[in-house]
Subunit: 151 residues, 2 copies
């Protein structure tokens, strides 16, 4: 079970170079249900996700580069490309700040994953977080992949 | 982790009507890695599997009929169609007897899933089980889907 909230935000004013980061490139073989392939700086992953917003089932498997390349052939769109920074925000929580590239350039989002729905509901976002888009389909990466930036 | 052994067999001489059964129809969106969709008499499933023979990682998620139909559109081959009988064979083990239809008509296999590699290794198959094809790629359903019956 994946429980998370997502917010828009501006480029943070603090120095990002102190934080762990990775490049992420991802494609979607299907969006309903979500079948996603992702390449990070370190590894390759295949994910499947059920429907839902704040809470949804997610299964992930590490795959080989060859398997990743096989699956890229099943796609027909440019990947979602972004740099993800991992920013500790207290209470054991980590903000995943995604700065998008290419066609999605200008978009910045921040996601936080929670252990329970109660924790997600009671979360008090830091001041640098912007609009809560947890329940806005347009900001799901699968939507961004298919439809691009919301107007 | 999925640990199983697979055997060819002839049509059993005992009465199958006493056992639980289901029809199974499955398609493959990819075979390397395996992305499989399956329809049974009761539900729809999306599976992903890593490489391997007796032991391999397998993740399964239940999906809706609409999601299943969406994923069928990504395939371009006739499905593997079979009837599966669940036959208890003692020691808490169940033989899954698959009687294939359509292009795979004539093929009958039986699979047993184990809790551990030790249990799989020490398994003493019942007399009605035939040749052990656990490590024969040609009898993986993904191969049967792509290549049909072995010659």
């Amino acid at each position: 079970m994946e429980i998370e909230r997502k917010f828009l935000c501006d480029m943070p004013s603090f120095d990002l170079s102190a934080y762990e980061k990775t490049g992420i490139i991802q494609y979607y073989i299907s969006t309903k249900p979500v079948i996603r392939i992702r390449k990070t700086d370190h590894a390759f992953f295949l994910n499947i996700k059920s429907k839902g917003y704040v809470s949804r089932q997610e299964l992930e498997m590490e795959i080989t580069e060859e398997e990743f390349d096989n699956l890229v052939k099943l796609t027909d769109k440019a990947p979602v490309s972004k740099t993800r920074y991992f920013i500790p925000i207290g209470n054991g929580l980590t903000a995943e700040l995604d700065i998008y590239d290419d066609a999605l350039s200008g978009l910045i989002t921040v996601e936080v994953e929670f252990e329970s729905l109660e924790d997600a509901d009671s979360f008090n976002p830091p001041e640098w977080f912007g609009e809560d888009v947890s329940e806005d389909n347009r900001y799901k990466n699968a939507s961004l992949y298919i439809k691009g930036l919301p107007e």
